[in-house]
Symmetry: C2
Subunit: 990 residues, 2 copies
């Protein structure tokens, strides 16, 4: 891959060598589009239809249908295929030097550059070519799909520096027939062709010097009008205009005797019956072209540059550090912007407008991976993407009926709203898309503040998706929990399972949110509610039943591992043999039968971890850590949707190098063709995901109730990061460096934001500057051996028991008990005496020992506080540093009471509430979380090895007391050496 890398120009993607083997891949990379119209980067001089250089012109959502043929069909299988059509090519301009055709495969290429100029929103080519017979020319072209004129594309080209030829000829064509689609049968992720010719030519003619073409899809009955206008600008004269069987040609010639430079502008306009009345199409195409001709190519390019300036002003993400990544993220957000539909009638396809992979279908990718970028930059586009879902609600209602459900069941993949997934275990079974859409509505409205959307469209979707969940799931007879069976979660390496964790918790969120929204709107606008509830037949008690189902939602959990189980049966499956799987066997789906994949613990993407991210507030940090640590090693990376999420969660959990590694895979997935399938189109979800990785991962953005919170954690390789966020009408400029974060309100109302958990206000006129360097905010203490030495009391209590019961016991044995629980301690003691006792008896004896111990510690007093601790705590208190106690001992509160320190501790973690003891990080993670600080702003003091391990796993700076704690970040001989000022410094340097 290294060889294929484009130069690290941060504003352009530059191909500086012509390599035929890259044509397909780079046709995807160099696509240009405006959300309505998309053109692959095919070479204009090659003829259309050649598979070697697969051209593609797409109108987002312009599709044909055909019968979906099954080897073995069943009730409810979708009967119709939908394919975004590859439209007849209009980009072709063939060039002849005298009679010698220009073709890169022949002759010599003396200079070559193709560049996607992202700043300008243009695709340019420039090359110096010598023909086999020795003629030469310089060829330049600019291709533009206009953002301000959705229906217009422009190709502006010139020929100069011609030698050896007396005449040049340019033939500009527009094809009229059906284009063959790419079809790689062996890979289910690519599109497939039709048996019939999908696009009929209704009329083709030359009108007013322009090509006019009217076509119609055979089954989906959509009309399309295409107009092409060729304007010779310099040195060229039109020779002919001819309507052929399969194309319309305009031929231009220029004589070298007259002129040295030849220029041609080609305007291409499209209108379809999706957005226009069929009868108006001819007129619309014609006026689009007239306007373009009047304004001229320069004006159109100027508009484009201007539009792009606004785009980058709003959306740019500036990475100070790695140019390849800077290039990658700009490419990605530019591709998103080029691909997203803007009129509520179309969405954003899995491959955007760059190729035919996934047949141009829309998936859950929109809501989960793409909408956040738009919400925080162009909320009007986010709204239109959601509006599209509303536009297909009736089809979703019909689909629910076919599946014997109530409400609406949104299609897993579709263009026109009808389910088009042919493999239901990884299609219709992914019911979670309904909750994902609800989640998209929730995020969009909360971040944008556009609550009107709920009344106009959102609430109806929420009601119908909630109804779906209610009929799909059921309250279990035995425990009353709400269960959802026979579904497939986002991880498609496991299919048709019961209680997929992701599905259930997202459904719970959907149900709860729907209830909140309906209740809220009922109070806020009774008249609206009255009409709405009548129209939808919404019963008075429906929303509260949704809440009940949400509250009682069954969420599988493995108590022993303390990990959320991906579904009811996941933990009982056999582990995948990763060591026995050679690299060439990935992606697994191309090398193993689904049944083999399904029966193992192996993931295409970690959907529990995705839930941890999406519903962040519902999980404790320790839970996220455990889920991440369990599922991450099981994840293959076979899905392009996976590494971005893994990156975000690794960032949040302090695994910074892992986070960076995953980010690298995401941000250049297409430019480096990491999955070796860019030829089929770019990976839109991963592109959105790379933005998420930066904003949610490295910048640590979270949003709740319109309040933004940031927790910067830049990769080591970066010096800085800049971006803007549009939140509820206010534009916030964010600049993060290794030491500080600067938040500047560019426009809009005052904002409340949180930086590393601390709330701030940002107003127009002054920037908020916050440190991103770790800053000591809390110290978490172990008890035994740190605050006091209760080891002596334990010794005395054990001694008393041993004497009474006749066991042997000594100080040597006592040393073995450091950090060990009560029952395990007794077992060690008994082993020394060679005694074996029944469990009940051991419990009894341990209980007696504990009584002795409690009796002893009840006599504790401040005299028992270890030397130096009082002073240290005093220093902390005086600088408002929070103090927590994290001891595994259930007697800790009594000890602290006895020591007279009860008022010193801000919190004492209840040891009984823990699922796992040290060296598990739970107790420390919990302490930091309860105090509300990032672990990196906390320090922990420990005297035992297990405790130090726990602190490290928690990402907390560890202070070790004594030899057993020598693995700590800062090791002290005794508590006497504790020093607040020094600790602050040490922490800052991490």
């Amino acid at each position: 891959m290294q060889d294929n890398k484009f130069p690290p120009d941060v504003w352009s993607i530059i191909e500086n060598k012509y390599q035929p083997e890259d044509l397909e891949k780079n046709a995807s990379i160099f696509f240009i589009g405006n959300g309505y119209l998309g053109m692959r980067g095919g070479l204009a001089e090659t003829t259309g239809g050649s598979l070697d250089s697969h051209k593609g012109t797409f109108i987002n959502g312009f599709y044909e249908t055909g019968p979906q043929l099954y080897a073995e069909s069943a009730y409810g299988f979708p009967e119709e295929r939908q394919v975004m059509l590859n439209l007849p090519d209009s980009t072709e301009i063939r060039i002849y030097l005298d009679d010698e055709p220009f073709c890169l495969d022949n002759g010599r290429i003396l200079e070559y550059e193709r560049s996607l100029m992202m700043k300008e929103g243009l695709l340019s080519r420039e090359l110096l070519w010598e023909s086999p017979e020795g003629r030469r020319m310089r060829f330049r072209s600019i291709r533009c799909v206009s953002f301000s004129r959705q229906h217009l594309a422009l190709i502006s080209c010139s020929i100069s520096e011609v030698t050896g030829a007396r005449r040049i000829r340019m033939i500009s064509s527009c094809y009229t027939g059906t284009v063959s689609h790419k079809n790689r049968k062996s890979d289910p992720r690519t599109g497939a062709g039709f048996v019939h010719l999908p696009l009929e030519c209704v009329d083709k003619k030359i009108v007013g010097g322009r090509a006019a073409l009217y076509q119609r899809t055979v089954n989906s009955a959509l009309s399309l009008g295409t107009g092409v206008s060729n304007i010779p600008l310099q040195g060229l004269r039109q020779i002919s205009a001819e309507v052929h069987q399969d194309r319309i040609d305009f031929t231009f010639e220029g004589d070298l005797s007259d002129e040295r430079t030849f220029k041609l502008d080609k305007y291409i306009a499209y209108y379809s019956s999706i957005e226009a009345h069929s009868g108006d199409i001819a007129e619309l195409v014609s006026s689009e072209l007239s306007r373009a001709e009047n304004d001229g190519g320069e004006e159109i390019l100027r508009e484009q540059r201007e539009h792009m300036k606004r785009f980058w002003d709003t959306a740019d993400v500036v990475i100070d550090g790695e140019d390849f990544q800077q290039q990658g993220i700009r490419y990605n957000i530019f591709a998103l912007y080029q691909s997203a539909g803007r009129d509520g009638r179309r969405n954003i396809a899995a491959k955007g407008l760059s190729g035919e992979g996934y047949e141009g279908h829309y998936f859950w990718d929109t809501e989960i991976y793409v909408i956040p970028f738009f919400t925080y930059n162009f909320p009007e586009i986010a709204r239109e993407l959601l509006q599209y879902r509303y536009s297909i609600l009736d089809q979703a209602r019909k689909r629910a009926e076919v599946l014997s459900e109530k409400g609406a069941l949104f299609p897993w993949r579709t263009i026109n709203g009808v389910e088009a997934s042919a493999y239901f275990p990884a299609g219709t079974a992914q019911y979670h898309i309904n909750a994902d859409i609800a989640y998209g509505i929730q995020q969009y409205t909360s971040s944008s503040g556009d609550f009107d959307f709920l009344k106009s469209s959102g609430a109806e979707i929420l009601v119908e998706t909630s109804r779906l969940w209610m009929s799909l799931g059921f309250f279990g007879k035995e425990d009353g929990r709400f269960r959802i069976n026979s579904v497939t979660g986002p991880d498609e390496y496991t299919a048709i399972v019961n209680n997929n964790y992701f599905t259930n918790i997202m459904a719970a969120n959907n149900l709860e949110y729907s209830c909140d929204v309906i209740n809220g709107l009922r109070t806020e606008d009774p008249a609206w509610y009255a009409a709405f509830s009548i129209r939808l037949g919404l019963a008075e008690d429906e929303p509260e039943l949704w809440r009940k189902a949400a509250e009682l939602m069954y969420l599988p959990y493995d108590a022993e591992l303390a990990v959320h189980s991906q579904d009811d049966s996941f933990m009982q499956k056999e582990l995948w043999d990763f060591t026995g799987t050679p690299p060439e066997k990935y992606p697994l789906l191309l090398h193993y039968h689904p049944l083999v994949i399904y029966r193992h613990q192996v993931l295409k993407q970690p959907d529990v971890v995705l839930a941890n991210f999406l519903l962040s507030g519902r999980f404790t940090r320790i839970q996220k850590m455990r889920d991440f640590d369990y599922y991450n090693p099981l994840t293959t990376g076979d899905s392009s949707l996976s590494p971005c999420i893994q990156s975000i969660m690794a960032s949040e959990l302090g695994r910074h190098s892992e986070a960076y590694d995953y980010f690298v895979k995401t941000v250049r997935m297409d430019l480096d063709d990491i999955n070796l399938n860019v030829a089929d189109g770019v990976h839109i979800a991963a592109m959105g995901g790379s933005w998420l990785s930066i904003i949610y991962g490295f910048a640590g953005l979270r949003e709740s109730g319109g309040i933004l919170s940031f927790d910067p954690r830049l990769p080591d390789a970066w010096n800085g990061l800049e971006f803007r966020i549009l939140s509820r009408g206010s534009v916030l400029q964010v600049e993060m460096s290794r030491k500080k974060a600067v938040y500047t309100l560019v426009s809009g109302d005052e904002l409340i934001l949180k930086h590393r958990g601390i709330e701030h206000r940002v107003k127009i006129g002054s920037s908020l500057v916050c440190s991103t360097v770790p800053r000591l905010r809390a110290v978490i203490f172990d008890l035994d051996g740190v605050i006091t030495d209760s080891a002596e009391y334990h010794y005395l209590a054990w001694k008393k028991l041993a004497v009474e019961e006749g066991f042997s016991f000594s100080r040597e044995i006592n040393e073995k008990l450091r950090g060990i629980g009560r029952l395990e301690s007794l077992e060690i003691i008994l082993e020394f005496s060679g005694i074996s006792l029944p469990k009940a008896e051991k419990e009894r004896l341990a209980g007696i020992k504990n009584n002795y111990y409690r009796e002893l510690i009840s006599r504790m007093s401040p005299r028992d506080i270890l030397s130096g601790i009082n002073d240290f705590i005093g220093e902390l208190k005086s600088d408002n540093i929070k103090i927590a106690l994290a001891s595994a001992s259930k007697n800790a509160p009594e000890v602290i009471e006895g020591l007279g320190l009860s008022d010193s501790f801000d919190i004492i973690i209840d040891a009984a509430s823990l699922e796992k003891g040290k060296p598990d990080p739970e107790i420390f993670v919990l302490a930091a979380e309860k105090l509300g600080f990032s672990p990196s702003d906390c320090a922990g003091v420990e005297d035992a090895e297990a405790g130090v391990s726990a602190l490290k796993a928690a990402g907390i700076f560890s202070v070790g007391i004594g030899p057993a704690a020598s693995g700590a970040d800062w090791v002290l001989g005794s508590t006497d050496e504790l020093d607040y000022a020094l600790l602050r410094k040490k922490l800052k340097r991490t």
Copy 2:
């Protein structure tokens, strides 16, 4: 359906009215075949290819392949379709009276009969017809597919009683082109056509006065030779013989002036490259025809009758009682005989040779539903069916490799051995077929005694299927149990589940049996073993690892319900809403999406119950009852494979009317077109199943180690049942009536058999006559209130406790405690005193009471035996009637000891071992089972309502003592009235 019923002729299926709407259905019903060649009952006078009367000629296993097209494909999906070809029609004989064509749709039918003469193995037609123009004729034909000449069919026809015509003309044709296949897309159970023309005509000609036709399949490259010879026998002369584009015609004419009767014999011979070298086919066809012509039609018909006599002598099942059922079972076994391949190269298709449903594929139906009939009647055919599996073992090995497994993975459906199932959740996922094949081998060898088959073929299949299971499953980390995940069991209304009970227990049986066979052969024939183990790379320790997996096989069980769970998740699913499902919504698979079906507790067929039957010896009777009672109500009957098994298990469990109802559905499934799809072909598995229902169900046959056991339980509607069983070379004639069963050894060595659990020997020359009337063999006693009245001791013990603890207690309260457990009793007492206590305290008090009680009963003596009991027990003992104690009291053994009755009881059921107490039948079912008697040969004595209910549920004659037991079959005032002689009589009358 009643209207369509054929008359109840016990030897023929007679259609006595021409009804065009029945043509398709009856073309299936009237198919004739010989295991190699099959012909649907199309009308000879209609032209081929018409969908209205779909003709079909099939050679078993003669197939074409084509690409398997998937809407969305994945790795390992079978790439090839296989379809048993409908061969060009050779049966056509068109008739003209003068120039008026004979056609049943025109003119008037004055007489009409079509009859499948099962006794003779022939299909006959006879009709008197008047043409639209008033000409008349009588037409007779006999169609014969010869059993003794596998490659030959004969149509012998005559015309007589002609009026109004001067000349008759018969045109006998043989088609040469491809025949269209039936294709009903909406129903996945029917076959589907090819895009290409599958059968190419290589040569067609007239040689030696016969039609000769050579064809070749395009993809599967099989050759087929067809020869047709027309022999005019009376009144006819050949006019012409012509080779046309699509057929070869022979035209015959007869003049009414010369003759009144006209006769033509048409011989049709087929040979294919499956069984012959391609180069030999022409010669083989020719000699087959020559031999037929030499022998003549009469001889061929005579042979057929003779062959059929031998068939019926061996295989007939005579039902005395219901002619419709008699007709049904004869039709079914005749169809099996007509359809089963006999040469180890072909098997028996799901629709036999009657139609194109399921594309002529072979399924598990063979081993589970069909082989028993052949094993017990024609073991040589059973062997060939298994030999076919051996012939495809290499393909199965390859398939295992594709699925990343070891050993062999047999195809779920196939003709040529390659997996042809296009829907893996109900195809490849049905791994159980491997265990089913092993089971078939086990049953066949055990019943036939043909252990040589193991060495030649069986052992190799056993090794490879065992290897499959070992690699498919795994030993669970936590409990070491062997688990098999992501499979589908026989019940296709649940798919891709973990630990399907049927699959796991059948796999365990496969593994264990394989180990036994290999170990046995290693000892028996070390030389064979040495060569075998080297050839298969069989490691020394492999078989014992199989046994270990079998022993540790995880078998899901719901402890609360005491029912085997169909799989890991079945019991957690939502119950299907049967009451909300109208009849027209069945079969569910045609009206609900698989996801809807999969997520509910609803069955296509009860596979746990099937396991209960197949591995009968592994289950207790009570377990079978519970499994049956749980799954039966969840079973839709949507599978034709289901009711026969339900009938058998209902028979075994004493649900005689249910058993009969299910049988009725099975035995006439095709003749009455119960599933409304006979047009696609008959239901071979259900046909085999109807034989199983009779032999395993009503006759109660089971086999173990070559020993047959019978437990007759004829339906009330029947007076008798007769059949023969061939077991290890001996032929046993079985005659069962309402009162007795007569076992007669017809030939072969002396047999050991069991009748109702009692072992007998049967020798040549004398019949064994056994009663089938219930006969008292054991009496099962409750203890309290029957043997002794310990109620008084309970009273005293409770009283003592109550006084000590200060509860109120009285005789009235004591009455409430009859039949109630200890802890529940205490709760009732506490309630009277208005006292509530923690559980531990209640347990302590109940323990104290029990100590008091045990103290009291330790003082019991024979004086405490209730009046009459000693005498009654004495009577039973003196007549060798077994005696059992079935008391829920854990103190029962002490009480019996105190009473001095320990020696009287043959068994005492350990109350602690029970899963459920009375009124659950468990204790009584267990007692009868342990004694080795049928419940209907036992009586039980009870004084409590719950006890009587338990007896009834157990199918045991109940004797009730006292008013609380008034629901019993025989109610007595006191134990004094117990009378052995009277009890014997009462029992006999049930």
